[in-house]
Amino acid sequence: MSPATKPPVRRSTPISGRGEPFVWLTGIGLSAATLMIVSLLVLVISNGTLTFWPAPLHELTLRDGTRVLGEVRRTESYRPGPEELEALSADVRRGIEDAGGVATRLLLRTGNYDLYGDDFRWVSEHAIASRREPAEAWLIERLEWGPAIGIPREIRRGAHPIADSAHGKLAEVFERERSAAAARSRRIQVLEKHDLGRINDRLEKGRLAVRRAAIQNGEGSPEHQEAASRADRLEHRLGEDHHRIQEQAALLRAQNDEVQVVIEDLDGRLITSRPGSEDPLRVSQVVRAYPANALGWAARFGVFLDRWVEFLTSEPREANTEGGVFPAIFGTFMMTVMMSLAVAPFGIMAALYLREYARQGPVVSAVRIAVNNLAGVPSIVYGVFGLGFFCYALGGTIDEIFFPERLPSPTFGTGGILWASLTLALLTVPVVIVATEEALAAVPRSMREGSYACGASRWQTIWRIVLPRATPGIMTGLILAMARGAGEVAPLMITGVVKLAPELPFDTQFPFLHLERSFMHLGFHIYDVGFQSRNSEAGKPMVYTTTLLLIGLILMMNLAAIALRTRLKRRFRSDHF
């Protein structure tokens, strides 16, 4: 039979080959991943952005006659214990029993930690007799002891009242005095931190010179004596400046101490300048104050923005639960940049040798497997290694050679931003090596041959053709490494990150870049505020906001790197072949 006369063979795809279930499965996988990421982001963004929105102050009058004032933080259901039920009146108890034994309670942020011994208070819904939002109540953010919530009565300079609540204008006078006091505080800070710091720095250098001379030339040698007398003269000369600056600061401080604001809570208890004192709160102790219930939308938004600005630009206070995170932002950014600068050349060079120069064989395969496995080592192990190798071994040696006069207090021989960055570079180098190798392998053979045929050496081919062509792929590896490194906390905790480091690793003091300094990090800040602070409830909003900021920072750095990669890719894209 010839093919033309045969009946045509009908072919069909078996059910197992049709693939719809697999399409569904892949879809489910993607949606599960998306759902998790989106809900995490929604949680962080909603909690993080609203933290700084000024909440109204509620005055609750309880059935037993006590009154409490504060922000309602959240409401939750709970199951009252038998003792609590016993103490309730019959109809309330019946109401709870009808609801299945479940009652509702509010978490009220009452502030005034110095008066009450706590910032928060649970109030059961059924215990509330009435509630209102008093227009005269203020929320006052203080430098210490958390917020104060109360009713301002008057403002005094010395013993004389300059404004009181009965005659109005209290708010304007307060704001004027507050900004004046804040300006004086800033001036004090400049005097003490900058000017005195500079003098202390020079004195310290003089003392170190004496020690260095003693170490190098021996105790009592002419050099040592000369250095000592020079240090004495310096101390004498700078001592006067030191004294003058201290006097100036003391004067400003006295002016600040004069201006006080009388605030009472609902029971008429005075909020004092510090626990145990009889003096009212000083205006200079106030960061921000506002009548929460009397604010219009514009004013609320003003408070919101002001808090964001403070958060982004100032230093933390109150054991990190208040104030800003600028040192942490800066530390995270600088550490990530330094890590990228360290990891890029190392990773790329290693991958180049592995892929282009090394003879492919069992040894190279073993190296490759080892590198890939490094990516799976727990990060804390890298931290321990960084502490042992970088901080103690390398840093200790640097100290002995270059800074013997400062010993036993270490300079480089302890955690610092340089060692933390190098530890993270080590942690992320496998990612860069693997990505670079892939990118190098993807460069078409025809390009290398074309270059060789032009008479290029192997190095010229790699440098001029292969590397540029592989750059987008290498950038992908770097982006991944950066994202991994910026979010890493565990190894940093032992190689240089600290709870509070107001001195940035980069400043106007010579030599400007202080690689030996310890630094703050957003990731560690989250851990610290969330789990290590006095009051985790007070720190919670800060945790969300800091998380939001960290995610935003990583996103921004990644976007920058991706934009760079896209530009490079466009250069190397080929539409034809």
């Binding site: 078409p444 025809s446 390009m447 290398r448 041959e449 074309g450 270059s451 060789y452 045929a453 032009c454 008479g455 290029a456 050496s457 010229q460 001029r464 053709i465 540029p468 062509r469 250069r571 190397f572 894209r573 080929s574 539409d575 034809h576 072949f577």
Partner: protein
């Protein structure tokens, strides 16, 4: 069927399959005397090559005349690409390659142990089957051979770029956009750019490995015109499996089969009056 095809591509396997009628007896090589009348630029001298255990070239001896276009033709797997890639020693990059015999470029040995391969390649240009412009601008592509020699004088580079692009008949199309990426050119333009790059350093011999096989007929005819116009100025050795192309562009044609040089002579004579039966069979399309 499949095995037979593969065997055909592997020169050592020929003994295992039944010899065709014209293959009986000793392999014959016929080089026409006219070839020896020209001054050779490149002399291939009893050259053999092995990929591992597999022998791909058998004792090939052929002079390549100066200023002429010499075409290598033959069926797939006959070793013509291997031969041309041996001229600039690109086969060195392949693992397990062994050779025997030698080649000489203007009298200088190519395979002597003392030869610096990079210096050697600087004396030749090569155009590949698939155009392979580098990921850089048109201008930088053309002057790449000069750049790697450390030439950075703008005047020299500009002059070379214009001369090479004119030689490759591309100047008028790209003179306004020398700074744009070479990857934005069309396929035919890219191949002409590669030709410009190959002639930029004034090579002693220009090697072309099936330069038109990935191009459409219009682009092909432009490249063919270009190759035709390069004769006299450059010595061209071109590999092609398109016999019409060989007939159109070349002065001399060498027919290769299963790693052997079969017949080599003036193109017209090879195509009109081949001396060997095997050549005639291939030319007339009876096999191949």
């Amino acid at each position: 069927m499949e095995t037979a095809q593969r065997m055909q591509e592997q020169p050592t396997a020929i003994t295992s399959h039944a010899p065709r009628p014209h293959e009986s007896g000793k392999r014959e090589t016929r080089v026409h005397p006219e070839v020896y009348g020209e001054r050779p630029v490149l002399e291939i001298d009893r050259f053999s090559l092995w990929y591992g255990q597999t022998q791909a070239l058998f004792d090939v001896t052929m002079p390549i005349p100066a200023g002429k276009v010499t075409a290598l033709i033959g069926p797939s797997g006959c070793g013509k690409s291997t031969l041309i890639r041996s001229v600039n020693r690109l086969n060195d990059l392949v693992d397990g390659v062994k050779i025997d015999g030698d080649m000489r470029l203007n009298g200088d040995s190519i395979y002597a142990p003392s030869v610096d391969v990079i210096d050697l390649r600087k004396r030749m240009g090569m155009v590949f089957q698939k155009s392979n412009p580098f990921p850089m601008s048109i201008y930088e592509n053309v002057v790449y051979p000069l750049r790697i020699d450390g030439e950075n004088r703008r005047s020299v580079l500009d002059e070379t770029a214009e001369r090479s692009l004119r030689s490759a008949a591309l100047w008028d199309e790209v003179r306004e956009r020398l700074g744009t990426s070479a990857l934005e050119l069309s396929g035919g333009q890219q191949q002409r750019l590669c030709i410009a790059r190959a002639v930029a350093a004034s090579p002693e011999v220009l090697l072309m490995d099936e330069p038109c096989s990935a191009l459409d007929p219009i682009a092909t005819s432009r490249i063919e015109e270009l190759i035709f116009s390069l004769r006299g100025e450059y010595t061209v050795l071109i590999v092609t499996h398109n016999m019409q192309q060989a007939a159109r562009v070349s002065d001399y044609t060498a027919f290769m089969y299963l790693g052997h040089l079969v017949e080599y002579g003036i193109t017209k004579r090879i195509f009109v009056k081949p001396e060997l039966r095997q050549t005639e069979d291939y030319i007339t399309g009876r096999f191949g």
